[in-house]
């Protein structure tokens, strides 16, 4: 079913909207959540929360891409749960690994002012726009989708060492970019 038809189902408050969304994007959402959490029960919970949030937000929201919309919600919900689990040292997924990797580069920024999240979002978007397509895809694969280095390498057709090198370069560039934008790193 086309995204527009599914969105119409949400607009007319038909519960089959959730079923159709699950049918079309359930696997996609499970993959994102599982990359972050690594636990089937948690993933099921997050995906269910995602459907509920989608149901509660459309309407009034009318996303251009339903895939990106539910992807963002499930990533957000999963990151929240992963942060809670990691605080309790119970995390199983790739969240800790990816977080630590990024933390190495941004370590001294623990006290940086990030109260303006929208501004940070814009800065990250312009940072991504400044990258080469290959580097950007590797960065997005790792830090948005939480994919493993092996999975990214296979997708990009790179060796794992090349992917790791690109990631390191991207992190350093991000650090410099944030510094230039006035973040205290």
């Amino acid at each position: 079913m086309e995204d527009s038809a599914i969105i119409e189902l949400y607009n007319s408050r038909s519960e089959s909207a959730i079923r159709e969304t699950d049918k079309k994007y359930g696997k996609y959402c499970h993959t994102i959540s599982f990359n972050i959490l690594g636990n089937k029960q948690d993933v099921d919970e997050c995906v269910n929360d995602t459907w509920l949030k989608t149901w509660n937000s459309i309407p009034p929201a009318r996303p251009k891409s339903l895939k990106a919309y539910v992807g963002r919600i499930v990533r957000n919900v999963s990151l929240d749960l992963a942060a809670k689990k990691n605080a309790l040292k119970r995390g199983k997924g790739r969240y800790r690994e990816v977080y630590d990797e990024l933390e190495e580069t941004l370590s001294s920024a623990a006290g940086a002012d990030v109260t303006d999240r929208m501004a940070l979002q814009e800065i990250l978007n312009s940072f991504l726009a400044s990258m080469t397509p290959d580097h950007r895809d590797v960065f997005v694969g790792r830090y948005w989708y939480f994919d493993s280095v092996a999975a990214i390498s296979a997708k990009m057709g790179f060796s794992q060492s090349k992917t790791k090198m690109i990631l390191m370069k991207c992190r350093n560039e991000l650090r410099e970019y944030l510094k230039k934008e006035g973040y205290d790193i």
């Binding site: 990106a68 977080y99 941004l106 990250l124 830090y143 948005w144 057709g157």
Partner: protein, 210 residues
């Protein structure tokens, strides 16, 4: 900061997400990657061996799993449960380790009735020992034979009921030789395992096979 960056990345442009999503490695890029080649070769070998094993052990039915005496029980349960939707607990109940005494056995998950895949599910375990075959059908949470395929009903023709605690749980199938003629005992048993007779059940089966 790290958490904030990971969180703020949620708002990246959709085109960046789809660009990564739609990435497909080029053939040459794949070939350049030696590790991918090695992994692909290993995968081909595994798939081939798996296909041969499946073809041999499943006798053409991909939901049947044969366990020979050579395979450790845990390995069998792991292998079979992956294909029976992770029903490991149920699997160890209907195909317990005791049955390892058999020459081999198979476990099969089937939907029955007119509803196709939506119909009630039964588990069929087939045990073979020294020429005697015992086929067990188990329908979770049922204590009668309703929903069972006809061939598992105790009232099926040419059969002799075996009664435990006043309930017909099994029948011995008489082998039909020619039209209207059959032997007294073909050594082929069909058993229905009822939920509340579980404790007696294992003994019944083992006795039939002794």
């Amino acid at each position: 900061m790290t958490g904030a960056v990971l969180s703020a990345l949620n708002g990246v442009d959709e085109e960046y997400l789809s660009s990564y999503e739609n990435r497909k490695p080029t053939k040459t890029a794949y070939l350049k990657n030696r590790k991918v080649l090695v992994a692909a070769a290993a995968l081909i070998i595994c798939v081939s061996v798996g296909a041969i094993f499946t073809a041999v052990s499943n006798n053409g039915n991909e939901k049947d799993f044969i366990r020979t005496p050579f395979e450790p029980y845990e390995s069998f349960v792991n292998r079979a449960s992956q294909h029976i939707d992770g029903e490991e607990t149920l699997l160890s109940s209907i195909a317990p380790e005791d049955y390892g005494d058999c020459d081999y056995y198979t476990v099969r998950r089937r939907s029955v009735g007119n509803l196709g895949a939506l119909g009630p599910e039964i588990f069929v375990v087939k045990l073979v020992k020294e020429g005697i075959t015992c086929e067990i059908a188990y329908q979770p949470n049922k204590n009668d034979s309703s929903g069972m395929p006809d061939r598992f009903r105790t009232e099926a023709p040419y059969s002799e009921s075996i009664v435990i605690n006043g309930v017909s749980v099994a029948y011995r199938e008489r082998k039909k030789l020619t039209e209207g003629e059959f032997t007294a005992d073909s050594g082929y048993y069909k058993v229905i395992c009822y939920s509340d007779l579980f404790s007696d059940f294992s003994d019944v089966v083992m006795n039939l096979l002794r």
